[in-house]
């Protein structure tokens, strides 16, 4: 099976949106709204847009809702203050504010399109489960959002996986497009564009999961979130921000059902195994935690990293696991069904687990655990790519290009891609996609992108084609060397032992083990130190070298190999960031610098991979707050 067997297809467009998840759909819609007939908007998506991305299994709430003049509704300032506390200070307030001020139009559009948002029967207003969230019947959330997106795009390429960005060959640090392959028929795709919006979601399965064997897939963030969001910009030479601030959330043990709904809508509380309450967190515990987390420990609600920290400590010191006291707040079958429906619409496994283990939430509590770390920028973490801010409100230092342009000319980001601006969730990601969509439209219609023509040589295209299909060729060339029986077509031989190649699963388990053991995974109770990080870095290097011997028996496995390679890049960015931040801020403890250091480290961390040499570099930049304390 040689690369030459697959046809090459070149697609020219003005704006290329990579990833049709929440942010990508917002970007396509908004870009087209402004482009009209004047610029072409193309979407490329690795799956089926109707059920792709983190919302592909549905959701039970828009975790970011409307901001209005109504005194009952929050104002953008409130949200910035909340996010600032929740993410321990180092956020981009311009970006966070920007999302809040555009949220209402997003929710209105969702409503119009048919998303069942719960309303207060009396006032007709959208209900809230907490201060920011609207509960929904969200089984078809993504399918509903995909509809206007598909209608808006000029062209949609589905089941096409983007492997590499293309840089302009004449202008340094200028994006020119991207390449990838068709997962169904193997077509090699070359997209050439004036502006590229990366909206490729977050990263799961980067760390060893708590699940094992066939349960590998039981991550909170879905298995298909493979880190292209950061890998594609990193390969183009874009800068990250705060990548050490990986996300570790508290979840129901094993099934990983989220906890916001029980805490916020059902007002449940959680305790340790002796019945002592830890969430809502009692004041005397806040006072103790303030010794490590300073004033952040007193924030209301308790910041997510501190809530997670409590669960970690309880487990570590033998008081765990924390228990969600579900039975206290489920007086009747109706309320139980509300709980079930919440999960069936979002994380069906949670209900399946209760049913399988005969756990009746109306009668007994359920165990909670801290998850393995994820990298994604839309929930309670601040790691992601470094993006330019809104022209009207961002401090000058944060304005090097159009809104949401990364540090590579012409390359934009949104949703899980853009860091230091967490708590956007599904609806905020859609909003940020819209922001980036308008900025990109302006960029190609009236900005520096207007007269740009991508310069990409045929040599480059052929070189990438060879690179992309090499795992397939390598496999078929080497396969017959051993007596290992051949598998049925399309079925992976997970545990094939071959001297000359490794399959994606073998590469992935190595990556996960390194990240877990050296970069503060659950297996180390989220601790690391300089020694471990340096050693982990070396091991990641060797893994990177071993990707030369990656093998794929099928196009499906080829997809997996490239997904895994993207995860590796994310892992490198995380470890390099952790190696350089000399304090502990986030969901881990750096034993050499075990405290938050407000004096020296209330700064952003940035890493960059030089696209020519593959060398990594690090710098910090100041945090500039624009909203009063």
């Amino acid at each position: 099976m040689s690369a030459l067997h697959f046809p090459t297809r070149i697609v020219d467009t003005d704006i290329l949106v990579i990833g049709g998840g929440m942010a990508g759909c917002g970007a396509v819609f908004e870009a087209k709204y402004w482009c009209r007939g004047k610029c072409k908007v193309t979407l490329v998506e690795k799956a089926n847009t109707e059920k792709s991305g983190a919302v592909g299994m549905g959701l039970s709430a828009c975790n970011l809702g409307v901001f209005t003049t109504d005194p009952d509704d929050p104002k953008p300032e409130d949200f910035v203050q909340y996010v600032r506390n929740d993410l321990l200070g180092t956020i981009r307030e311009d970006l966070v504010y920007d999302i809040a001020r555009h949220m209402t139009s997003t929710i209105k559009l969702f409503d119009e399109w048919g998303l069942p948002i719960w309303r207060d029967p009396k006032t007709g207003k959208y209900l809230r489960t907490g201060r920011w969230q609207h509960p929904i019947h969200g089984e078809s959330y993504k399918a509903i959002i995909a509809e206007p997106c598909r209608k808006s795009a000029d062209e949609v390429y589905e089941r096409v996986f983007i492997t590499h960005p293309l840089l302009d060959e004449e202008r340094p640090n200028r994006i020119a497009g991207a390449v990838g392959f068709g997962v169904r028929d193997g077509t090699f795709y070359v997209f050439r564009a004036k502006a590229v919006i990366v909206a490729a979601g977050g990263t799961s399965l980067l760390y060893r999961p708590r699940s094992t064997g066939e349960g590998l897939g039981r991550a909170w963030y879905p298995t298909w979130a493979n880190g292209s969001a950061y890998a594609i910009p990193l390969l183009a030479g874009a800068e990250t921000v705060n990548m050490e601030f990986r996300l570790v959330v508290v979840r129901f043990k094993d099934a990983y059902g989220p906890v916001g709904f029980p805490y916020l809508l059902l007002k449940m509380r959680s305790t340790d195994v002796y019945g002592k309450q830890w969430e809502p967190l009692p004041d005397e515990e806040k006072a103790k935690l303030a010794k490590i987390f300073y004033d952040y420990a007193w924030a209301r609600p308790t910041p997510t990293p501190i809530r997670t920290w409590v669960t970690i400590q309880n487990l570590k010191e033998g008081r765990g696991p924390d228990l969600m006291q579900t039975q206290e707040r489920l007086p009747d079958e109706e309320s139980l069904k509300v709980l079930f429906e919440d999960y069936l619409d979002m994380t069906p496994t949670q209900v399946f687990l209760w049913a399988s283990q005969n756990i009746h939430p109306q009668k007994q509590p359920s165990e909670l655990v801290p998850t393995e770390p994820y990298v994604q920028a839309s929930h309670g973490s601040s790691g992601g790519m470094w993006a330019s801010g809104p022209p009207d409100i961002a401090p000058e230092e944060y304005r090097w290009g159009p809104n949401r342009m990364l540090t590579v000319e012409g390359m934009f980001g949104a949703g899980d891609v853009v860091g230091a601006s967490g708590h956007k969730f599904s609806s905020g990601s859609f909003t940020e996609g819209r922001i980036a969509g308008k900025a990109a439209a302006r960029y190609v219609l009236a900005g520096p992108g207007k007269d740009y023509k991508p310069a990409i040589s045929n040599d480059t295209i052929e070189r990438y084609k060879e690179i992309v299909y090499r795992p397939l060729e390598w496999y078929h060339k080497n396969r017959p060397l051993t007596t290992t029986p051949e598998m049925p077509p399309g079925y992976t031989n997970w545990f094939e032992i071959h001297p000359n190649y490794l399959n994606w699963y073998q590469l992935l388990t190595r990556l996960q083990k390194i990240m877990d053991e050296y970069a503060a995974g659950w297996g180390m109770f989220y601790i690391t130190n300089n020694y471990l990080l340096n050693r982990g870095w070396e091991l990641l290097r060797m893994l990177e070298e071993d990707f030369r011997f990656a093998a794929a028996a099928s196009l499906h496995e080829l997809l997996r190999v490239w997904e895994t390679y993207h995860r590796l890049l994310v892992g490198q960015a995380v470890v390099f960031s952790m190696m350089n931040r000399k304090e502990s801020r986030g969901y881990y403890l750096h034993a050499d610098y075990p405290y938050i250091d407000e004096e020296n480290w209330h700064v952003f961390s940035h890493v960059r991979r030089d696209p020519k040499t593959g060398q990594w570099s690090f710098r910090t930049s100041p945090v500039i707050h624009i909203i009063p304390p």
Binding site: G215, A355, W494
Partner: protein, 164 residues
């Protein structure tokens, strides 16, 4: 619950293959049936189960933590726009539930070009935000008392005396 396909029910239509976000579901040209080729990457999202017109796809919860014996039934009715669930516990307890999935007919959502055109490409207002009910405010919000604090916000708070 990684999924699997009952041989006797599958008609090989490929809908499960088409929808799976993980690219797990594959089509076997030999017997012209769908199957889960990559169960360890299955998120139990249930899309293949919901989209199979023959109800040939079923789930069996992750064996590394879920004991056998629970059963799940689901019907996603895109005419009535309701999803029906039936959950049977290992101990036999049964729950049935139904929830709406959409408030408008499928295909009815408007694309960008169906919304009125605007010319303020230069403004920071997004689509429809020229209308206050979409914006939520009479005009685009900007920080009311913008400040510029470089570095620790805790320190700034302490200095400003507006601590906890």
């Amino acid at each position: 619950m990684p999924t699997f396909v009952y041989s006797s029910l599958c008609k090989g239509c490929g809908k499960c293959v088409d929808i799976c976000p993980a690219d797990n579901m594959q089509y076997n040209p030999k017997n012209r049936k769908g199957y889960n080729a990559d169960p360890i990457m299955c998120a139990e999202c249930m899309n293949c189960v919901k989209y199979c017109p023959e109800h040939a796809v079923d789930v069996r919860p992750y064996a590394d933590f879920a004991p056998l014996g629970a059963r799940v039934g689901v019907i996603r009715d895109t005419k009535k726009n309701i999803i029906y669930w039936r959950i049977m516990y290992r101990d036999g307890t049964v729950y049935e539930m139904a929830s709406p999935i959409r408030t408008t007919p499928w295909g009815s959502a408007k694309g960008a070009l169906e919304y009125p055109e605007r010319t303020d490409l230069d403004s920071e207002l997004l689509a429809m935000e020229d209308k206050p009910e979409y914006l939520g405010f009479p005009e685009l919000q900007r920080p009311k008392q913008a400040v510029r604090i470089v570095g620790s916000i805790i320190k700034a708070k302490q200095q400003g005396g507006s601590g906890r």
